[in-house]
């Protein structure tokens, strides 16, 4: 499909920085989007959350940009900006009026090349407090807030890069010092460990000159070591109950599957759609509509560079049993694999996926980020059509083949109201 095939240009600077240019002049805006090849998977075991804290520190100023000015320059220009840290990568972006492209490149290059000069105990102490609050607000003080920390902790052993939460454990957050931050910067924040997408309304030659001007002089110092991680299968199923400040019980069932872009992942995504993608999803139909045991149920496939899993989660209606819900989930999975998947189920899912690919092309920032995403995981930024065709190729048999994952041990995590603790 033509609209899913983007004309782009990709090249590298001498220092190793990968550059991807994508022109789209439909609005006078531009996006600068950087992916640093470092995420929480690189956190030292006793300093979890460091990659995420570092992302915060990148907004605290650099040699030529004072604290607060990064935001100020972007906001005064009418732009928006943000950053995010995942297990695999750290992402930074600015979306600005196209006449401010140079400002965005100047800002990003200054913190890539001259970050350490502005690092102080004061800015570090401030951001440790902010991250502490982020953890309290988004995880500790939220009902079911510890869900993913628990799931990843149970699924992966301590040596695995996905064992600890990206935000980090509170005692680690409070322990970071300037040396940790400085070493982290020197190791990972190098041009050769980074790709930059510039997308939107600009002249290609001019953009290339600007990228060379601002990023060309930043040296890549040392090789970044490869991270090798062998994901082991669970030797036995694991169960945990969390007594939390919640009213409704919740269950998560998780099976290990595959790393990102593995050929089975497309079938697993379609499986999740068949189970819970809509009112007609099999699990939704039986648990929410027919048996009225659950308030909601959802299934999805997660995958990253170092591992993946398939999760089914349901919130029980008051007084309904999680054991019964689990039994039905397992029975329905078994039915699906043992018996037929209908052509209608498969078509419904594929039609939705195809439409979503087109809807996904609406905003320049998400297109820019997707270019970096494909480039990072596949080495080819323009993989929209390819990815869609992999979904279109999924057959009934390829979904049924996924049964093998569900025959293996799983994680069973439950949230139960605090006042139930100690009661049988």
């Amino acid at each position: 499909m033509k609209i899913l095939s983007l004309d782009y240009e990709k090249y590298s600077l001498q220092n190793g920085l990968e550059v991807i240019l994508y022109q789209d002049a439909s609005l006078p805006i531009a996006v600068v989007n950087l992916w640093y090849n470092v995420g929480s998977s690189r956190d030292p075991q006793n300093k979890t959350g460091l990659a995420h804290l570092f992302e915060h520190m990148m907004f605290q100023g650099s040699k030529h940009v004072k604290k607060g000015e990064h935001f100020k320059f972007v906001q005064d220009s009418g732009g928006t900006l943000n950053a995010s840290t995942s297990f695999d990568v750290t992402n930074y972006f600015e979306k600005i009026p196209s006449d401010y492209l140079e400002t965005a490149l100047w800002l990003e290059s200054d913190r890539m090349g001259f970050f350490l000069e502005a690092l102080t105990d004061e800015t570090l102490a401030n951001q440790i407090e902010v991250v502490k609050n982020e953890r309290l607000e988004r995880y500790d003080n939220q009902p079911y807030g510890l869900t993913w920390e628990k799931i990843f902790g149970l699924l992966y052993d301590e040596k695995h890069p996905y064992h600890a939460p990206t935000i980090g454990y509170m005692n680690h957050i409070l322990s970071y010092n300037q040396k940790d931050v400085g070493e982290f910067f020197n190791t990972y924040y190098q041009p050769r460990n980074t790709s930059i997408v510039v997308a939107g309304d600009f002249e290609a030659e001019e953009a290339k000159d600007l990228i060379e001007k601002y990023f060309g002089e930043i040296n890549s110092t040392k090789e970044v070591s490869q991270l090798f991680s062998q994901d082991k299968e669970l030797s036995e199923s694991k169960n945990e109950i969390v007594y939390d400040a919640v009213s409704l019980e919740k269950i998560l069932l998780v099976w290990k599957t595959e790393k990102i872009f593995h050929e089975n992942n497309f079938a697993l995504d379609i499986l999740s759609d068949i189970l819970t993608g809509s009112k007609n999803g099999r699990l939704h139909n039986i648990l929410v509509l027919r048996r009225e045991l659950a308030l909601q149920v959802s299934a999805f496939q997660f995958s990253g560079k170092y591992g993946g899993f398939f999760c089914v989660t349901a919130t029980a209606k008051p007084g309904k049993s999680l054991d019964e819900i689990k039994k039905i989930i397992l029975t329905e999975l078994d039915n699906l694999f043992k018996h037929d998947i209908t052509t209608e189920e498969l078509t419904r899912s594929k039609n939705g996926i195809k439409a979503n690919f087109i809807y996904g092309m609406q905003s320049l920032d998400s297109v820019a980020n997707q270019l970096n995403h494909y480039n990072f995981y596949l080495g080819e930024p323009n993989s929209f059509s390819n990815e869609l065709s992999l979904y279109e190729k999924v057959e009934k048999e390829s979904v049924k083949k996924c049964e093998a994952y569900f025959d293996k041990p799983h994680v069973d995590l439950r949230f139960v109201p605090k006042d139930q603790e100690g009661k049988l």
Binding site: I3, S26, L27, P28, I29, K67, G68, K72, F73, Q75, D76, S77, G78, G79, K95, P97, S98, D99, Y100, E102, T103, W106, D110, A125, N126, Q127, E129, V130, K132, N133, E134, L136, E137, R138, N141, P143, K213, A245, V246, S247, L248, S278, N285, V288, L289, E292, L295, T315, K317, P318, E344, T347, R348, N351, G352, K354, A355, Y359, Q362, L364
Partner: protein, 457 residues
């Protein structure tokens, strides 16, 4: 080459932005709406807006409008809920039905080639819903379960109490859309049907749309699929709130909570009031952006919070100002001191630099509000909802540009009202209970998680 990094780059000349053309459509039946043609992708976003909402819930029947909105697509036009859903999915289309206090929105998204079929399904939902008893019982019990969940979410509790208290008991513009537990318990399927007949079937309605199709195609399709509906004239409007000249603090005690949710605000004017632009500029300086005064102080200087923001929210004929944040429990008092200081200070001092930066930021950001189909539809909906003139977007940049320091200070003085301030704290009361007296509240009221008063002190 030596690069001068110390001097920020100068921007080039500002790129030219052409506003998309807004087309007004009126069908022979009288149904009317707004449309923007956008050819970039072969897709259509369409929103049918009915002028009724949860403020129309009768006394003792809160939650009725919400439940009606949930049930309206659970079976319609001879198709069961599942058949209907299946048809949307087979088309790769989606429908979202949502409700607020004054409006009910039916939003569909489809590929252009599937738009006619999608609109036909929407037509069935709007004009021929089934409202089956079994669907009613199930969805009602789900709402009841959602209400239970809400009691554990400190942010939702704070939002709920703020809106209920700022609008006051006499107006329903602030009540919780989901409804009160005991009211929801008493709702029947007949209530739902009656609500539909009284307020949706013949209620005032209009539409907004952005898509790759031509205006004439759109007209034809609406006429074919949507226009068999009577054009309503039911224009009951909800009671407006009466401002209370009392500075009130409401709090909910959460034992050992590590953070305190804070909401502080007051009633203010309408969306179409002429000081809207001055308010927008003023709030950009105060709390609308990351670098605004409040977030900069509470987060970047003090490290009390992950974020703090302020904004103006609107109903059709009124609105409110709100500052919202969540801070570490032990810093609650100090954070409140900072907040009250900033709320005073914005009425006294705004520098030329702050003013110009805020204005430029808003004006330059303007083109990026017209990127996605959803943004276009939301923009059109703003015109529709608040009766703004057709020239609104054309004049927006110049209206912002015209704001002076005096205008912004006046907007702060007029719209941030110390005497009518409503503050809500949800957290461990031992962190603030003995200290808040300093802020001169006329009343300090403890509430439960459902927003009911426990004790007045």
């Amino acid at each position: 080459m030596i690069i001068d990094r110390a001097t920020p780059p100068q921007s080039k000349e500002q790129a030219v932005f052409h506003l998309p053309q807004i087309q007004q459509i009126t069908l022979p039946s009288g149904l009317s709406g707004l449309f923007i043609e956008k050819a970039k992708l072969p897709m259509v976003q369409f929103m049918f807006v009915v002028s009724t909402g949860s403020a129309m819930d009768a006394v003792g029947k809160s939650g009725l409008a919400n439940l009606t909105a949930i049930l309206i697509d659970e079976g319609a036009g001879g198709l069961s809920a599942l058949e209907l859903n299946n048809q949307f999915e087979m088309l790769g289309s989606s429908i979202q039905i949502s409700i607020n206090h004054e409006f009910m929105y039916f939003t569909i998204l489809s590929l252009e080639e599937k738009f006619s079929e999608t609109l036909s399904l929407l037509g069935k939902i709007i004009s021929q819903p089934h409202f089956e008893q079994n669907e009613f019982l199930r969805e009602k019990s789900k709402v009841q379960a959602q209400l239970l969940n809400l009691k554990n979410e400190p942010d939702s509790i704070a939002d709920r109490i703020f809106e209920e208290e700022v609008f006051g008991a006499s107006s329903k513009l602030g009540h919780l859309n989901l409804g009160k537990e005991k009211d929801v318990e008493s709702l029947s399927n007949d209530d739902v049907k009656n609500f539909y007949h009284s307020f949706i079937e013949t209620g005032m309605a209009g539409f907004v749309c952005a898509g790759s199709l031509k205006v004439d195609e759109l007209k034809n399709l609406i006429q074919k699929h949507l226009d068999n509906r009577q054009v309503g004239n039911n224009s009951d409007s909800p009671k407006l709130p009466i401002p209370e000249k009392k500075r009130r603090l409401y709090f909910v005690h959460k034992n050992n909570a590590q953070q305190t949710e804070i909401r502080i605000g007051n009633l203010s004017g309408r969306r179409r009031d002429t000081d809207f632009y001055a308010k927008t500029v003023m709030n950009t300086i105060l709390g609308g952006q990351f670098n605004s005064r409040i977030n900069f102080k509470l987060r970047e200087k003090k490290g009390f919070t992950y974020g703090a923001t302020s904004y103006f929210a609107f109903r059709k004929e009124c609105g409110y100002f709100l500052l919202t944040t969540s801070v570490q429990s032990e810093h609650t008092f100090e954070a409140l001191k900072d907040i009250f200081y900033e709320l005073k200070q914005i009425k006294n001092v705004i520098s030329t630099e702050e003013l110009e930066a805020a204005k430029l930021s808003i004006i330059r950001k303007f083109p990026s509000n017209f990127e996605t189909y959803y943004q276009l539809v939301s923009g059109l909906n703003t015109l529709y909802t608040y009766d703004l003139p057709a020239s609104y977007f054309n004049d927006y940049p110049s209206n912002i540009k015209a704001i002076t320091i005096e205008d912004a200070l006046t907007a702060a003085g007029d719209n941030i009202n110390e005497e009518e301030m409503v503050a809500v704290l949800v957290g461990d009361k031992t962190a603030f209970r003995d200290l808040v007296g300093e802020f001169g509240f006329d009343e300090i009221i403890e509430m439960n998680e459902e927003g009911e008063r426990l004790i007045s002190l």
